[in-house]
Assembly symmetry: C2
Homo-oligomer: 358 residues x 2
């Protein structure tokens, strides 16, 4: 039986989008491909409220996280990673795995960062870059990136701000130019509601300049090389064409829905889950940091999450266990992409029924 | 009008394979995905005549080339790149772009390497790794990797041998274990006849050991991290699920055709193009190095390749111009994947007709 996915990615992909992958194959140096990329890019720029290039990589988001931090830190300088959960911590593992001198600043899991905490941490070292996780998928926390970026920019104009928006982009408003951040990236299987395999990344002028100052910055994710090809609506390596065909169709649908409507729908779905979570469980994230795309419930009733998921499977749905150390202690419901308010009401009703909640 | 692709990737993808991408989305930490990866992997091992792990990356081949060379060279050691055309040269650009001390040994374009040339070059420095391009897509040259590897292994048992089989794998026989090479990789849009977006890579014990000795070896393509997840039929980052669904179906079809039949069909298609090339043009590659998957014709008749392609487009086909500096001086016909001998005969007939060859 098909299970509708309420997990924080891959999320449910509509049949029309799956079908959009089946367009006949085209050459990536042929005009047909340049036309495709040339059609998609302005829609992505509209989504991110930016005039800057938005790149499309054949990669999981992790690859572009790695690529971006490698070209953000000059020799002798350091990176600062803000950690509020398992996914924001990944930036630290990536940076260290690439031999980049890196420090982390942490808050208690369930909390997000306040701007002054990040600014203060940046004062402790000679930093070239700071990473921020817009939506921490393990804890269900959304960080106030606009406010953090404004504070960082005021205090440290040259620090490059890298934003992981993996589980947010296309579900919440990200104003790339207005926020004055330097790289924001997200993969396709979350709020874009596409199959996995693509990562979209907007890149600032400040980031391009910085990349030019970093020797040995890598090859596949090199933003300057990407920019060269971007100008002719191509990519240096072969792009994931069938997935981009699906992206093209999906961006039409996203813009047809209306961006403000899309943000409002995500918020409405999350509010439903949050209200339900407050009533029957406890929300893991602090109220002021609640995410519009994934809600983490503390398992106050001591249920076996795996058993709940088995029962849900028989009814055609799947939710997510807690991540890492939070497994069984928490569980998560994602409200991403093309899921509807009706879908969420249905899911919560099924859980109520299975667990005898009322 | 749909153009059947006789270019060296992306190649023609059959309708059934395009459709295989449309299976409903599944969670990458769910049993459904592990079942999928667990089904595909043994088929890939069969394809490569290996007991070693074969990894599936959400990436273009270039990404895994970069990933592999980064973890092949210990601090203080060097890499040797064998260059016989534009694509083999890419290894050099990648290594340098990652700050790896690297030398290259070159042969005239149109030629491949003899084992003794590679062994001799390895004697000139303190090398940890050597790269070989099985099929040089710009010149239509196939290198004798089995013989080169045997010679290298005899003289330098610890040198890691990295093989770019991007435009060969699934079209020619690659005996990973018997050849005793350390990493062989290929992307999905060539002889696999899949949409682009995946890269398959077999990895040896020697390579795993070496990776463990390289600090700062990177994250997304880290073979040791991949191995950990591979053991539970997962990947560390989200895999490109819809493309892997298509790979699963295609591997069934490849094995149903029979591997020896598949190699023979590729050879037969190439022989047709080669005979035609000798008759009306000149083959760019030396006879002893002719590739079974792409044939490069010297444009001895001074045609405008772009015009030929325009005329072919009206008849539903596309071939490839020369690559880089060889543009218009040469043109290329790829015989990859699921193209048939009848397809090739048809294509050559159309070109004969357009150009008035007889």
């Amino acid at each position: 039986m098909y299970k509708k996915l309420f997990i924080p990615g891959p999320t449910h992909v509509r049949e029309e989008i799956l079908q959009a992958q089946t367009a006949p194959m085209i050459g990536h140096r042929a005009r047909e491909y340049s036309d495709l990329q040339g059609r998609v890019t302005p829609k992505l720029q509209q989504l991110l409220y930016t005039q800057q290039p938005v790149f499309i990589y054949a990669s999981s988001g992790t690859g572009v996280m790695e690529g971006s931090i490698r070209q953000a830190v000059r020799p002798g300088k350091r990176a600062l990673v803000t950690v509020c959960g398992a996914f924001s911590k990944r930036w630290f593992e990536i940076a260290v795995g690439n031999g980049i001198p890196t420090d982390k600043v942490e808050v208690e899991w369930g909390l997000g960062f306040r701007p002054e905490q990040v600014v203060e941490a940046l004062g402790q070292g000679d930093y070239d870059a700071v990473t921020i996780t817009l939506n921490e998928t393990s804890t269900g926390v959304q960080n106030p990136v606009a406010e953090i970026a404004a504070a960082v920019r005021a205090a440290y104009p040259d620090v490059v701000i890298l934003v992981d928006a993996v589980s947010s982009m296309a579900g919440v408003k990200i104003e790339f130019d207005a926020w004055d951040i330097d790289c924001v990236l997200a993969s396709s299987q979350k709020c874009f509601a596409l199959p996995p395999g693509l990562t979209m990344a907007a890149v600032s002028e400040r980031m391009f300049k910085r990349a030019g100052e970093v020797p040995g910055r890598g090859y596949y994710f090199d933003f300057l090389d990407m920019l060269k090809y971007y100008k002719k609506n191509q990519t240096p390596a072969t792009p994931a064409i069938s997935l981009i065909q699906a992206l093209d169709k999906q961006m039409d649908d996203i813009l047809a829905e209306g961006l403000e409507n899309r943000w409002a729908r995500h918020l409405e779905m999350a509010h439903l889950v949050q209200a339900w979570g407050r009533k029957y469980w406890k929300l893991f994230a602090a109220e002021e940091f609640l995410s519009p795309t994934v809600t983490t419930m503390v398992n106050t009733r001591g249920i076996v999450v795996g058993d709940l998921n088995k029962a849900l499977a028989e009814r055609g749905a799947m939710i997510s266990n807690g991540y890492g150390d939070l497994k069984e202690k928490t569980f998560r419901i994602a409200t991403m992409g093309d899921l509807t308010v009706a879908d969420v009401r249905w899911l919560l009703g099924e859980i109520d029924d299975i667990l005898g909640l009322e």
